[in-house]
């Protein structure tokens, strides 16, 4: 919240950008964290599968579903204690798919709170709405 107060009180639009923590740093970190998380989950799943079965001939299809159902299935499986290597791989792919989505979602709020730039709140909001429709309601 202190971030937010400082930028909104500052009247000069040019000099307000705090270089330690601005949109570039935020987005760069989200993208990096998402890809790393995804890779770690996938590698853990693959190594575990390899140890368990002695090979890596993974072959499991998912039936057609949107990301919401994909996540709900994974979370249900996790909560029921049925934790398998395949679950880690699924979660790794889900993390990868969520990475650009979270980046867009955070951008909407950044433009809204830190920059109060309504044009770009609208643009990023549009992208976000289309993605939410396609990922969660299709």
């Amino acid at each position: 919240m202190s971030e937010d107060n400082r930028t909104s009180q500052n009247q000069s639009p040019q000099s307000q950008v705090p270089h330690q923590f601005d949109m570039e740093a935020l987005i760069g970190s989200i993208l990096l964290a998402g890809v790393l998380l995804s890779v770690v989950l996938i590698v853990v799943g693959l190594i575990w599968y390899g140890i368990k079965t002695g090979n890596l001939a993974l072959n499991f299809m998912i039936k057609g579903m949107n990301l919401y159902h994909f996540l709900v299935d994974d979370i249900d499986q996790f909560r029921s204690g049925n934790i398998t290597p395949g679950l880690f791989i699924d979660l790794g792919i889900a993390a990868l798919l969520l990475t650009p989505f979270v980046r867009v979602l955070v951008s909407v709020f950044y433009f809204m709170i830190a920059e109060r730039n309504w044009k770009f709140v609208f643009f990023t909001g549009f992208v976000c709405s289309v993605l939410i429709y396609s990922l969660f309601f299709r």
Binding site: I27, S38, G64, R103, F123, V127
Partner: protein
């Protein structure tokens, strides 16, 4: 069933070739996967997910270097995601032969265009049109090679938007990043400096690929087992490729890549036409 290790190795190779030639991985990955016996629609779907990984990985570095123009990217994403949704939907209803032929033609096309020497983006005296100014599409970045800050203004956003719909359409249809096409639009239609064009195109590719992936996911075309091998392989290939050689200038090696593209393109066209 294609063995894990083959998927993994071919994806490393595709990532390497993609990074070294600057074409991106998908254009090589998909023909290679189909040669291994993966169904073309599955290959397109898996590649689309892998594109999210490579683009997000490299975009994270470019964005923090402050070369990427976030506003330009976020304005144009509106067009590319719609294009990708339409393109991916068309792939779902298309026949396999049609996809082979379109892909083959795109490969043959990129084999000719990737070797045109990029003209130097001369500093255009930017007379910004009203619409682009209203969108605040301008910026500056620090150029390490030239050791100075370069300011620029984008132009013709009204042209860039619709053209980006087309680039998104190709990306979604074929499961590729279509980065070269996006860079071309930034360069020719919107007058962005080439570094800003490549890095901003990279940022847009991730979201565009996500839109395409959402269609393929809902259609059940993404096999997590195969996708995991391809994602890891292409990331390893792409990052070792960018570390070892930033960009190839050696003419002999570029000719070699060109021949690979032509052979893969011909193979796909012939397969689509039912000759192979």
């Amino acid at each position: 069933m294609v063995a894990f290790q083959w998927l993994f190795l071919i994806s490393i190779a595709a990532g390497l070739v993609g990074a070294m030639s600057g074409m991106g991985g998908g254009v090589v990955l998909i023909p290679a996967l189909t040669l291994l016996g993966v169904d073309i629609k599955h290959a397109i779907a898996i590649s689309m997910v892998a594109v999210i990984a490579t683009s997000s990985g490299s975009a994270s570095a470019y964005v923090r270097d402050r070369i990427t123009n976030l506003k330009v990217g976020m304005f144009l994403e509106m067009f590319t995601i719609i294009g990708a949704l339409v393109g991916a939907t068309i792939t779902l209803i298309s026949g396999h032969q049609f996809l082979y032929i379109v892909f083959g033609v795109v490969l043959l096309g990129s084999s000719t265009t990737m070797f045109f020497e990029r003209r130097r983006s001369g500093a255009k005296p930017a007379h910004q049109d009203k619409f682009t100014r209203w969108l605040q599409l301008e910026g500056s970045y620090y150029d390490q090679a030239e050791n100075r800050t370069i300011s620029y203004r984008a132009v013709r956003a009204y042209l860039g938007g619709p053209l980006m719909f087309g680039a998104g359409f190709i990306a979604g249809l074929l499961g590729i990043g279509a980065g070269a096409l996006k860079v071309l639009i930034f360069d020719l239609a919107m007058g962005l400096p080439s570094k800003v064009a490549t890095t901003t195109s990279n940022l847009i590719i991730g979201v565009t690929a996500l839109a395409g992936s959402s269609v393929y996911l809902a259609a059940g075309l993404i096999d997590p087992g195969q996708a995991s091998a391809v994602i890891l392989g292409i990331l390893i290939g792409a990052f070792s490729g960018t570390r070892v050689l930033v960009r190839l200038t050696n003419v002999a090696i570029r000719h070699f890549f060109r021949i690979i593209l032509i052979l893969l393109g011909l193979e796909m066209v012939l397969r689509g036409a039912g000759v192979l």
